[in-house]
């Protein structure tokens, strides 16, 4: 038996310096562990990585070096620790240019397409009319836009595109007036996109996507347990415990969303276009909006109180593409009637669902486990 200590060296993984992202299969569990930490924290020192993962300093050193050579992580400037004697710490963070992802969200009336970088900054955004249910359509509009987004990436970074995330409404969602069963339509869409564009496509429920987006890149980043609301045409919710998004009874939604406000406004012939304009602000709708907000907050309180019988939740996150000031006012309203609960408006703009969808390829490539449950 030869002394195996002196067999040819078998490196954990030397990043192939010539190519882009390594194949998913060769990314080790420990690398994913480290990248998960970096996706959850803006920056972190090697020492903290060791504490949080239980890996030795030497193993962390090897992993960081390898990911650095691959261009996925970057070393920051050494910082003197405040109020602590000892050496300065060197923060490690994700390299924004390390990976890119495209997110597509098929919503109530529009489809949003975004291109994000590794830290969630939006590099491209377009809003299109929804793909039509026409049998002969190949959603060319939609595919063209995705292609356009990909073309925005400089040539050498194309191999850094982790994939395309697709956020789709729950099959059976009443908001859709398409005769084809949604799941069939969606799987056809996924297949078509993979074939046409040549990148892996990941599909997820759109509300779960929005929750995932807020958790990875938005207001919910530092939170581990909270009740998540998405205010769209209707009001949807998800429960997040220990960073896991629970799907729950996902088809359950409440008709107290923007669609109900739209109906109320239509009854008195007020213009409703601004409600669906992503970039816009809402005009002063006066009493109509006030009573709508009251019924919305009432429903949110009911959901919260029902849940509070089983789990102690201290935080509510409200995500929406509605203007920030509208969400902020709803949160204030909610906080004033739920003592000891913090309500936070989501911080992802312009489309939480599309950005959440774009986070899917990152989860799949780089994280320890998909957070979707």
């Amino acid at each position: 038996m030869p002394d195996m200590r002196f067999a040819p060296p078998n490196p954990l993984r030397i990043a192939d310096r010539a190519s882009g992202l390594n194949a998913v299969s060769v990314r080790s569990y420990n690398e994913r562990l480290l990248l998960s930490l970096l996706l959850q924290n803006e920056s972190i020192s090697r020492f903290e990585i060791g504490v949080k993962t239980g890996l030795s300093a030497q193993t962390v050193s090897v992993l960081v070096r390898s990911l650095e050579q691959e261009g996925l992580v970057a070393k920051g400037e050494a910082q003197k620790q405040r109020g602590r004697v000892g050496p300065p710490t060197v923060p490690i963070s994700l390299n924004p240019e390390g990976a890119f992802s495209v997110g597509v969200s098929v919503g109530h009336k529009h489809t949003d397409v975004v291109l994000i970088d590794f830290v969630g900054s939006v590099r491209f955004h377009a809003t299109l009319p929804n793909p039509t249910p026409d049998q002969n359509s190949n959603h060319s509009d939609f595919l063209e836009t995705v292609k356009k987004a990909i073309q925005l990436l400089p040539g050498e970074t194309h191999q850094r595109l982790a994939g395309i995330g697709l956020a789709l409404p729950e099959p059976g969602d009443g908001a859709h007036n398409d005769p084809t069963p949604p799941d069939l339509r969606y799987s056809a869409l996924q297949e078509e996109m993979e074939k046409e564009i040549g990148f892996p496509v990941f599909v997820q429920n759109d509300i779960t996507s929005a929750a995932g987006g807020e958790s990875m890149f938005g207001a919910a980043k530092p939170l581990s347990d909270y009740l998540f609301f998405y205010l769209g045409a209707e009001l949807h919710s998800r429960l997040i415990l220990n960073h896991q998004i629970y799907y729950g009874n996902s088809s359950l939604s409440f008709d107290v969303g923007i669609a109900s406000l739209e109906r109320n406004l239509q009854e008195i012939n007020k213009p409703t276009e601004p409600l669906w304009d992503r970039a816009g602000t809402w005009p002063d709708y006066g009493k109509i909006k006030e009573s709508w907000e009251a019924s919305l907050v009432e429903q949110m309180k009911r959901s919260f109180n029902a849940l509070a019988q089983f789990v102690e939740i201290k935080t509510i996150v409200l995500s929406s593409y509605a203007p920030q000031d509208i969400c902020g006012a709803i949160c204030e309203n909610l906080e004033s009637s739920l003592i000891g609960v913090k309500a936070i408006a989501g911080s992802i703009t312009p489309s939480p669902k599309a950005i959440g969808a774009a986070s899917l390829p990152f989860s799949s490539h780089f994280m320890v486990e998909n957070k979707e449950k």
Partner: protein, 217 residues
């Protein structure tokens, strides 16, 4: 107080380019001294640089005492407890008399890493941090040393990658000195005063970047 052992050859000894082992930079100028200054008073620096030291080879001409492996064990036990061992060797293994490719030099370093792990001279008998430092590549013109080192220049440029592979596979820290300093043209394989300064500062930053808990000081 933390202790760091700097285990190396003439470039750790502080031999001046173009000089002899007697022409030595001062304690504050040599990279271990610079690193100590940068790390601050919490660190004890142990300098162990021997001119002509190899990784694992008895030198048939200069003597068996140049073998880094046989000296490592008594050296480490003399200086225990050690928080980190920094090894910068490899250039002397490229002498014509040893006839070794870069990969074999890296294998020799691997032996030293195994020996340190077995000795476990860290706090409470643990394995200390181990940092492999690849020496800067030799220059093409190595003056009168050409006959002794014939063909070494080319090999020396491949040491960093081979060392990194062995460091990765044995899970230890790695630093490529060639990324911050170059050899001095006076003899083509020793580093000058400014290079000692730059290397000492860079290695101090590398040591700090490992991250150290505040307990057991």
């Amino acid at each position: 107080m933390r202790s760091v052992l700097c285990f190396g050859d003439s470039n750790t000894h502080g031999q001046m380019p173009g000089g002899t082992p007697l022409d030595r930079f001062g304690p504050q100028q040599r990279w271990p001294g610079v690193m100590g200054r940068e790390l601050g008073p919490g660190w004890h620096i142990v300098e162990e640089g021997l001119s002509g030291r190899t990784t694992v080879r008895d030198d048939p001409i200069e003597g068996a005492h140049k073998n880094g492996r046989t000296y490592l064990t008594p050296c480490i036990q003399s200086h225990t407890i050690l928080d980190i061992v920094i090894i910068m060797l490899g250039t002397n293994d490229l002498k014509v008399r040893f006839n070794q490719p870069p990969s074999e030099v890296a294998m020799g370093l691997g032996c030293l890493i195994y020996d340190i792990k077995e000795l476990s001279p860290g706090p409470k008998g643990t394995i200390p941090e181990i940092m492999i430092v690849a020496p800067p590549p030799m220059l093409d013109d190595i003056k009168e040393w050409e006959s002794i080192f014939k063909g070494a220049q080319e090999k020396s440029r491949k040491l960093a990658l081979e060392f990194e592979i062995i460091a990765d596979s044995l899970e230890v820290h790695f630093f490529d000195a060639g990324s911050v300093v170059a050899c001095d043209p006076r003899d083509g394989f020793h580093i000058g005063r400014q290079a000692h300064e730059d290397l000492g500062v860079a290695l101090a930053r590398e040591v700090e970047a490992i991250g150290w808990a505040n307990e057991h000081v």
